[in-house]
Symmetry: C2
Subunit: 223 residues, 2 copies
C-alpha cells in the first residue's frame, strides 16, 4: 500500500517536473526571470509584493496570483498598475493547496511575457506542498512571519530548505512578541545553513530596499 | 483529464470517509469526545492547547499530534503530563499537508482510549486540505490568528465553513496590528453565518475560560 502510494506520488512529481521545465523554457525564451513566492497564509506575501512592485528601477514586473478562491490579492496588486493574472486552484473539494506546473502552464497564454522582465508567482498560502511542486521558476523566495513562532524551520523543513531567499516578515511586531529572533535564525541555519535572509516590514518599509536590490540583481534586464 | 482527476479525488475522499466512520465508532464505544483542531502554521494551536489541558475539571484529556516532521509540539504538551501520541505524516516528498483518517486509524492502538474523556487531534498547520479529510472527529475547532489578516475567511472558505467553533487567537496583539476585527468577523459571517467564536489569547489567558467551558460542555463525561 505504502509502496503504491509512493509510486503514484513519484509519477505525479515526475509529470510536474516535465511541465515545469517546459514553462521554464518559455520564460527563458522571453528573458523573464521567475520567482515562486511561498509562505503560510497571512505571512505577508501580498503585502511584501505591494511594497516591492513599485520602484523596481526600470524592471517590468508581472504577477501570477495563486489562490484557492477569489481574487482579493490580485485586486490589491492590480491597483498598483502591474499586470496581474489570477489562477484559482480547482474549486471542487475545497481546492488544491498549492500551484502545480500545469496550472501555471494553463496561465501562460494570458501572461504578457514579451512585456516583462520579472514574473512573481504568488503561491497558495501553505508551508508544505508548494515546496514539492516546481512551477518553472528560476528562484524560490519564502516569506516567514515572526508571528508564526521560532519553531517553523524545524517543523516545515522542506520549504525552508528549498528556498533561495528567506524574507523574515512583520519585524515591526518583534517588541510585542515572545519571539527569540536568534533562536529562530539558529533553527533556520540548522535546516538550511547560510541561506540568504532579509528582515522586512511591509508596514514600516524596513528591509524592503534590500529585498528590491536582491530582485534587481537577480532579474537584470537582458541587453 | 479534469474528470479523471475529480473521480480520483472522489474515490480518495470516499475511502477516507469510510475509515473516519470506523474511527468514530471506536471513539464512541469508549465514550471519548474527539476534537479536530485545525489552523495555519503558527496560528497558536499548540499554545491554545497548552493553556487548556490543565484545569479541565475532572475531564481526562489526551492529545494526538499531527506534524510533518519532529515532535516539538508533542514534547511541549507531554510536559503538561497528558498522554500525547505523535503522528508524523509520510516523511517522503516532504510529508503530507494534512492528517487523514487512515493515519489516525494507525495511531488508535497506541491511544489510551479507555482512560480518556476528550481527545484533541492537532492537525498539520494548513488552511486547505485538513478541512477535506475527516479523521473521525465529533467536532472541528479552528484557530485563526489576528496576525493573519482580515481576508482569511474569504480566501480559505472551506475550513471556516467546516468548523464548529472558531478561536480567534493572539488578540493581545490587536493594539499593534492594522487589523479590523469587525471587518474580519463580517468576512467570517459571510462564509459561515453565526458560527460560534471565542476571542482568545494564550499569552494573557483572555477567553481561555470560555474555551474551556465550551469543551467541558461538549465532552460531558458519561455517567
Amino acid at each position: 500500500m505504502h509502496r503504491t502510494r509512493v509510486k503514484v506520488l513519484e509519477d505525479v512529481l515526475d509529470a510536474n517536473g516535465t511541465i515545469a521545465r517546459a514553462n521554464r523554457e518559455d520564460f527563458d525564451r522571453h528573458g523573464v526571470t521567475v520567482v515562486n513566492l511561498m509562505g503560510s497564509p497571512g505571512a505577508g506575501k501580498t503585502a511584501v509584493l505591494e511594497s516591492t512592485v513599485r520602484g523596481l528601477g526600470g524592471l517590468r514586473v508581472g504577477v501570477l496570483e495563486g489562490d484557492v478562491q477569489g481574487s482579493l490579492d490580485a485586486d490589491r496588486l492590480a491597483s498598483l498598475h502591474v499586470p496581474v493574472t489570477q489562477i484559482n486552484t480547482d474549486p471542487s473539494f475545497g481546492g488544491e493547496c498549492h500551484l502545480d506546473a500545469n496550472m501555471v502552464r494553463s496561465a501562460i497564454p494570458s501572461l504578457p511575457l514579451h512585456e516583462l522582465d520579472l514574473l512573481v508567482i504568488e503561491n497558495v498560502g501553505n508551508l508544505v506542498c508548494p515546496a514539492e511542486f516546481a512551477v518553472g521558476e528560476d528562484l524560490r523566495v519564502m516569506v516567514s512571519s515572526v508571528t508564526e513562532g521560532e519553531d517553523k524551520p524545524i517543523k516545515y523543513p522542506l520549504m525552508f530548505r528549498a528556498t533561495d531567499l528567506l524574507l523574515v516578515s512583520k519585524i515591526d511586531l518583534l517588541p510585542h512578541l515572545d519571539f527569540d529572533l536568534y533562536r529562530y535564525l539558529g533553527n533556520l541555519d540548522s535546516v538550511h545553513p547560510g541561506v540568504p535572509r532579509i528582515l522586512v516590514s511591509a508596514r514600516t518599509g524596513e528591509g524592503i530596499d534590500q529585498w528590491r536590490d536582491w530582485l534587481l540583481e537577480k532579474a537584470v534586464r537582458e541587453p
